[in-house]
Amino acid sequence: MNAAILQAPWRASPRWTRWYMGLILTAATVAAVAIGFFAHRASWPLLAGSALAFGEFFAGMFLLAPGVLLAVDGRQLRIPVLQRAAVAGMALPALVMIGVPTAALGVAGGPVVDIACVLAMAVSSGLLMGLMPRVLCAFIGLLPMMIRTIGMQLHLPEPGEPGFVALALGSVVGTLVLSALCWWRQLRDPEPYRQGWWQPMVLQFRRANRASGWAGLAAGLPDSVQQIRRQPDWLRPMVDLRPAGPRRPRYSLRVALGGMFMPMTVAGRARQLAVAVLPGTLVMAMLLLQAARHRGGGISWALVTDWAGMFAWLGSFIGLLVTLLAVMQLHQHWQKHNAELPLLALLPGLGTPRQVRRELLAASLLPGLGIQSGVLILLLALALRIHLGWMAEAAVLLTQVASMGVLVAFTLSVVGGRPLRGWGAGVCCTVCIVLVSLSLSLSLMDRTAAASHAPWVAALAGAWALFLLVLGWIGRRGWHGLVQRRHPFLANPG
């Protein structure tokens, strides 16, 4: 029974999750072993534990949190004992994930309590991340810099320092209480399988894991019909239809593409922006004010300089998010046989196939590129104003250009009928996120530290060049597909 419970998270996971998790856990273990071999500092077990914690965070999110789905199924199908088994199937593997590495590193001379705390924090925060409402994940992009900034400014103890264990235990208890609340809320929900922004992330994973590639990513997002059904009436999109018609094919195509492509009235746009931006702005303002108070002054350029990394992260995150949303929305459009594609294919007045192609590309690319360009200009202006240094400026430029490149390449591949399948899309997105993270981390170090990492900078530049080449290949392939298509409104195979 116990062996079966231990295996439950793994066996209940879809194939793609197992692959991703296998890779992440292997990478974390290899990193930990490498630290053991090559690090000469006495604190290497703690470092190795941190490397393992990175993998275990994802294990908490992708392997343990989905236990709630099992519990929900058990409750809905009135299967006895299954709810308790789901809790055990989450708790027991979690204890093993914390206990085994702690024991191993303890034998190697590491501080057992600190390592256990680091691992417990990782597993419990991964679990919470999987169980909490999707809407809160909008802040994930801010987390790395937020933790770093807050940690530095509030002088929070780090592993190995006095006070760390108390802090870690408090954090673990807090995350476990929140996880239990999220778990209970989902279990008692009268419609526990309903998708929505306030539903837990794990529901998203279940949908996304039904397919691979863009299909899988897009399946994780509710389509336009589902999204609008769930929206309250006051949030309904206020489209500006006045200029639409055969004289403005590009504008008309944007109406037909809907979502982020849709031209809205000023009031409609302001309302949606307020909903999307206001919570983030408020959080940011609160953090800035807190930091200013801690610094003993008001909001100043010096404070903004301290927070430059946060702004760079945020900008890059927005750029990537815009790309993902646009491409997934297009992917959904180009998979449906009963929605906009047949309507557009048979709509008179959009022009010759060549004109339609041009207008469609403009309609599908310009809104996203516009937002990304705006973000880029703001970030560059900020970087220049606070003299961030050429490396940081280059990184900001590069990360935003990469988001734009991904947007162009994948848009072409979708409308050209040649979307990447299987691993391709996931690997590309992951590589992009990793490159963006590394570039920003490296470039935002102080200059002397950055100089000592010159070989890494060179390697990163090489990786970027390779990535941009791959994007070029994807885009070119999509463009050829688009040119060869008799018209662009042919659905892609599912």
């Binding site: 336009s224 019909v225 609008i228 059904r229 309904r236 999109p237 489209v239 239809l241 639409a244 018609g245 055969p246 008309s252 109406v255 037909a256 809907g258 979502g259 849709m262 449906k336 046989h337 009963n338 929605a339 906009e340 594609l341 047949p342 309507l343 294919a345 048979l346 709509l347 008179p348 007045g349 959009l350 196939p353 298509r485 008799r486 018209h487 409104f489 042919l490 659905a491 195979p493």
Partner: protein
Amino acid sequence: MNAQLRDITQANDSPLAVHGLVHGYEGTRVLDGVDLALAPGSVLGLIGRNGAGKSTLIRAMLGLLEPQAGQAQVFGEPALGLSDATKGRLAYVPQQPEALAWLSATQMLDYVGRFYPNWDSGFVKGTLARWDIPASKLLAKLSPGERQRVDLIRALASRPDLLVLDEPAAALDPVARRELLREVALRAGEAGTTVLFSTHIVSDLERVASEVAFLHQGRLLIHCGVDETKERYARLWLPARLAAAAPSGTLSRRHHGDGSLCLVVERDAGGLWPEAAQLGGARLDALGLEDLFVEIAE
């Protein structure tokens, strides 16, 4: 006249015609060399079981997918490269339409109407009211039946010469279905609109179609006038002792446990039933459209 021969001769002046259409998904052949042409002003009911390939055939006919082989023409133009003039004469309603869900019914019809030269705004207004559709509600929030009816209004308001409907009655209640069929019959009778609609509700087909085409396992087995089917096809039952005399090339063949044989047979070019029907002990039964459908599809 033989159905295929008639198809080929009609193809040139047909509003909608396909020849040698082949298509499949993931190694499965969905359409297997389909030839079909609609006569101008006809109402063709395309019938077949779920998964028979009806929607794929319709989409290939309209250039909404690129077939693996074969040609499709709409008013003489290649379906994959229609001119604006031809698109303006054509209206299509897919199965369970979902387009432009972020607009209200009024907004969607206003938007689409701007592209059609013959758009009938009066019809839109009148029918929205007559069919009790909440015009300002977002399409995403309408019931499937209401959503289907809005799309039917969209198709009919463009006053098309060719109307193609994929399972138009699937989400409709009996009253709405009857209204739709009345509208289709009216369009065909008064305006000479050519109509192709797919269905598996045989009574709808009998009520409104002038021709029937039966698609089974990717092949078009029957294409003739609805009234012709009773005259042209029948069920031939042969006892076990006559089973060896069964004609070849029948539309369906079913063996019973007692060795007897049930076949669906067709009159030959001279209007005669197969010789086996004349044998002592053989029985020939007339088939209604639904029975014919079930006999072949089973």
